[in-house]
C-alpha cells in the first residue's frame, strides 16, 4: 500500500513539475518602448501580431517615460544592474554609439539581409565598430513649416535659402504686426540649451558647408568660417524675426506659438504636421512643410532623429528577442505604424507604397528630406556623444544669448572637444 502511495506521490510530483515546466516554456520577452498614446498602442498591436504567429512567446510592452533624459536614466539603471528584466530597448538615434557595448550584434541574428532596405544613413549610424547594435524602427528629421495663407497673402515664395527666409520673415512679420497682431513672429525654432539645439544648429552649419562638428572619420571640424557664419546668422534672428525667448524654447514651445497662429515659419519634426491639422489648431489647413533652407554655400540639411530597437546582451533569450525586434522593425510592422500612427518608416520602399501614401499623403514630400538627412556625430564621438553635444549646444547657446561671440565660442568648442575626445583637428567636408 505504502509503495503505491509513494508511487502515486512521485507521479503527481513529476506531472506537476512537467506541468510547471510546460507553463514556463512560454518565452517571455519584455520590450521597453515609448509611453505615448498612439505609440504605445501600436507597439502593443505589433506585439500581438507577433504572438499570434508565435504562440510560444509572450511579449510584455513596458512603457518608459517620454522625456528622453528620464528614459536614458532608466535604461542606464537597467544596464548598470545588467538586468535581464528588459530584453528589447527602444533607443534614440544618438544612443547606439554610447550604449552599443550592452547590445548584441543584430547582424548575427539575421538583420544583414534586411539592412539594405533601410535608409543607409541610419544603418551607418547604428553600426558601431562593425556591429549593428540597433535596427531602425522609425525616423524623424527637421522640417520647415510655413504658413501657406500668409505667403500667398503677401505674394512670397517658400524660402530656399536662409537669407530668403530672413527677408520674407522680416517683411511679413512687420506687415502682420502693423495689421494688429503684436505677438506675431517670423520664425520659431528650438533655441534652448539642450539636445534640440544641437539638431537645429547642426542644420544651420551643415547647410552652410560648415560640417558636422566632428566628422565621421573622427576629426574635429567645428572651428571653421562657415560654421561661425551660420551661428552668427542664427544669433541675428534672436530678438528680430524670432522672439528673445526663443533661447528658452523647445519643440513644444515652438509648436504652441505656431498653432496659435503667431509664427510664419517654424522648424520642427514631422509630429507637428498632424497636430497642426487637428481641430483645436488655429492654423488648420493653412500650412505646409518643405525642406529647411540652405546656406549660401551648401544645400538643405535636416538633422536625423528617430528611434531604433536594440537587444540587450543580458537578455536570457537573445534569439527570440532579436526576432521580435526584427519583426517589429520589419516591413509589416513599419507599414502598420505608418498608416495608423503616421510614424515615418525607415524602409525606403514604404514611401512609394500606395496604402501608406493614401493614409499619410505628406510622406511623399518627406522621402527626399530623409534621404538627405544628416546624422549627429554620435557614432564618431562614442561613448562621449552627450558630452560632445553639450559642449556644442552650450557654446551655440552662449552666442545666441549674446554672452559670447561665435568665433570665441567655436574656439572653445574645439579645445573642449579635443580635451574630451582626443581627436585631431580637421577641415569639414561636404558629401
Amino acid at each position: 500500500m505504502r509503495k503505491y502511495l509513494l508511487l502515486v506521490l512521485a507521479l503527481v510530483l513529476v506531472v506537476s513539475f512537467t506541468a510547471v515546466g510546460f507553463a514556463q516554456e512560454k518565452t517571455e520577452i519584455t520590450v521597453a518602448a515609448g509611453s505615448v498614446g498612439k505609440e504605445l498602442e501600436l507597439t502593443q498591436q505589433a506585439a500581438q501580431m507577433y504572438m499570434e504567429e508565435h504562440p510560444d512567446v509572450k511579449i510584455n510592452v513596458l512603457s518608459t517615460p517620454d522625456l528622453t533624459n528620464d528614459r536614458l536614466g532608466l535604461y542606464l539603471q537597467f544596464l548598470e544592474a545588467e538586468s535581464a528584466k528588459v530584453d528589447v530597448y527602444q533607443v534614440d538615434v544618438i544612443w547606439p554609439g554610447d550604449l552599443g557595448q550592452h547590445f548584441i550584434d543584430l547582424n548575427k541574428y539575421g538583420a544583414e539581409e534586411v539592412t539594405d532596405n533601410h535608409f543607409q544613413e541610419i544603418v551607418q549610424n547604428n553600426t558601431v565598430e562593425g556591429r549593428l547594435v540597433a535596427i531602425p524602427w522609425f525616423t524623424d528629421a527637421g522640417l520647415l513649416y510655413y504658413r501657406t495663407d500668409l505667403l500667398e497673402k503677401y505674394n512670397r515664395e517658400v524660402p530656399q535659402t536662409w537669407t530668403e527666409l530672413e527677408e520674407t520673415a522680416k517683411y511679413i512679420m512687420e506687415q502682420e504686426r502693423a495689421a494688429g497682431n503684436p505677438d506675431f513672429y517670423g520664425y520659431v525654432w528650438q533655441g534652448n540649451a539642450y539636445e534640440g539645439l544641437t539638431c537645429d544648429a547642426l542644420e544651420w552649419g551643415f547647410s552652410n558647408g560648415g560640417g558636422t562638428i566632428v566628422s565621421p572619420d573622427k576629426e574635429i571640424t567645428i572651428n571653421n568660417e562657415k560654421a561661425i557664419e551660420a551661428i552668427d546668422m542664427a544669433a541675428g534672428w534672436v530678438g528680430g524675426i524670432s522672439p528673445t525667448g526663443v533661447t528658452g524654447m523647445a519643440e513644444e514651445d515652438a509648436r504652441k506659438m505656431w498653432e496659435a497662429g503667431n509664427a510664419l515659419f517654424m522648424r520642427n519634426w514631422p509630429y507637428a504636421y498632424t497636430l497642426g491639422n487637428a481641430d483645436t489648431s488655429q492654423i488648420k489647413g493653412k500650412f505646409d512643410v518643405a525642406p529647411l533652407p540652405a546656406g549660401d554655400s551648401g544645400s538643405s540639411a535636416a538633422t536625423l532623429g528617430g528611434w531604433n530597437l536594440s537587444v540587450s546582451k543580458y537578455s536570457e533569450h537573445p534569439e527570440v528577442a532579436a526576432d521580435v525586434a526584427l519583426f517589429m522593425a520589419g516591413k509589416k510592422g513599419q507599414k502598420m505604424r505608418a498608416i495608423e500612427g503616421s510614424f515615418n518608416p525607415t524602409i525606403k520602399s514604404l514611401y512609394q507604397d500606395e496604402e501608406v501614401l493614401e493614409a499619410v499623403p505628406f510622406f511623399g514630400k518627406l522621402y527626399e528630406v530623409f534621404t538627405n538627412a544628416v546624422a549627429r556625430p554620435s557614432t564618431a564621438t562614442a561613448p562621449n556623444y552627450n558630452q560632445a553635444s553639450e559642449i556644442f549646444f552650450q557654446g551655440v547657446h552662449s552666442v545666441l544669448t549674446g554672452e559670447s561671440d561665435a568665433s570665441t565660442a567655436v574656439q572653445y568648442m574645439e579645445l573642449d572637444l579635443k580635451d574630451l575626445l582626443g581627436y585631431e583637428i580637421g577641415e569639414p567636408r561636404q558629401p
Binding site: S35, L62, L67, D70, G73, A81, K256, L275, T280
Partner: protein
C-alpha cells in the same frame, strides 16, 4: 483716534494682510485650475486670459475634457491608490520609529547623543540622484517589490526629518513632567507613551503632514523603482507618463488637471488634521 476706531483699523489691517497672504498662496494654484480648464488653443492665446475664453469670440468657454481624460486614465487612478498607500505607510512608520528615537534624543541622558543626531541627519544629505544607483542595487539584492522599495527608501528622507523635528519638540517639554511621572512610579516608557506623546500631538501631526507630502510628491525614486512594475506607479510618475497622441507632445492641460485633482486629497487631509495642529496642550495645562 478713539480706541474702538483703532481696534477697527487694526482689524481691517489684519484682514488685509490675511487677504494678501491668501492671494499670494493661492493665485498660482488658481492659474493651474484656470489652465486645466483650457484647450490647447485657449492655452496658447495671446494675451493669456484670466478665465478660459474662446479664442475666436472671446466669450467664456470652459473646457472640461482634460478632467475626463485623466479620470479615464487607469494609470492615474491607480497612481492615486499607490501614492496613498506608499505615503501613508512611510509616514506612519517614520512617525513611530522617529518618535522613539526622538524621545531618546530629546529627553534621555546618554552618551553619544550629538553624534547620533548628526549620523541620522547625514543619511539625507546626499542628492537623491547620487544614491539612486546604490539604492537600486540594495533593492535588487533584497528583492523588494516596487511598493515596499518606495516605502523603505522614502524613509531615507522622512525618518531623519521626523526624528529631528520631534527631538526638538521633546526637548522643549518641561522636565518637571517627566520627573513628576517618575515620582509617581512610571517607567520611562510609560512616561513617553502616556504623557509625552499626547503632549506632542501638534508636533506629530505637523511633521506627519509634512513628511506625508514629501513622500507623496517624490518622483525620482518612484520613477526608477516602479519602472519594471507599472502597476505600482505613484501619481507623480503617472503624471509624467501622461502623453499626447504623439511623442514630444505634452498634454499641458491634462497635467494641470491632474495637479489640481491630486492636491485636493491633501487639502482634505489637512482640513481633517488641522485642528490637531493647534489643539496641543499648553504648558499651563500640563502643570495644572
Amino acid at each position: 483716534m478713539s480706541k474702538t476706531q483703532k481696534k477697527v483699523l487694526k482689524k481691517i489691517l489684519f484682514y488685509f494682510v490675511l487677504a494678501v497672504i491668501v492671494v499670494y498662496l493661492l493665485f498660482p494654484f488658481y492659474w493651474a485650475v484656470n489652465s486645466s480648464l483650457k484647450s490647447q488653443a485657449q492655452l496658447s492665446m495671446t494675451p493669456a486670459t484670466l478665465i478660459p475664453r474662446d479664442p475666436d469670440t472671446g466669450e467664456i468657454s470652459i473646457f472640461t475634457s482634460n478632467y475626463f481624460a485623466i479620470f479615464k486614465n487607469g494609470q492615474f487612478l491607480r497612481g492615486l491608490v499607490n501614492s496613498s498607500i506608499v505615503a501613508t505607510s512611510t509616514t506612519i512608520l517614520s512617525l513611530i520609529v522617529g518618535s522613539f528615537a526622538a524621545f531618546a534624543l530629546g529627553k534621555l541622558r546618554f552618551k553619544g547623543k550629538e553624534p547620533a543626531l548628526y549620523v541620522i541627519l547625514a543619511m539625507t544629505m546626499f542628492p537623491q540622484v547620487t544614491v539612486l544607483s546604490g539604492l537600486y542595487a540594495v533593492i535588487n539584492a533584497l528583492n523588494l517589490s516596487a511598493r515596499f522599495s518606495m516605502i523603505f527608501t522614502y524613509m531615507l528622507f522622512t525618518l531623519p526629518f521626523t526624528t529631528w523635528v520631534l527631538t526638538s519638540f521633546f526637548r522643549d517639554l518641561p522636565k518637571e513632567i517627566m520627573q513628576s511621572a517618575q515620582v509617581d512610579g512610571a517607567t520611562p516608557f510609560q512616561t513617553f507613551h502616556m504623557i509625552l506623546l499626547p503632549l506632542t500631538a501638534p508636533a506629530l501631526v505637523t511633521t506627519g503632514l509634512l513628511a506625508f507630502i514629501q513622500a507623496w510628491n517624490e518622483y525620482l525614486f518612484a520613477l526608477t523603482f516602479t519602472s519594471i512594475d507599472p502597476s505600482a506607479r505613484t501619481v507623480p510618475v503617472a503624471i509624467q507618463y501622461f502623453s499626447g497622441e504623439f511623442a514630444r507632445q505634452e498634454p499641458f492641460g491634462e497635467i494641470m488637471a491632474a495637479a489640481v485633482v491630486v492636491t485636493i486629497p491633501i487639502v482634505v487631509l489637512v482640513l481633517i488634521f488641522q485642528k490637531r495642529i493647534v489643539a496641543g496642550l499648553t504648558a499651563g495645562a500640563v502643570k495644572g
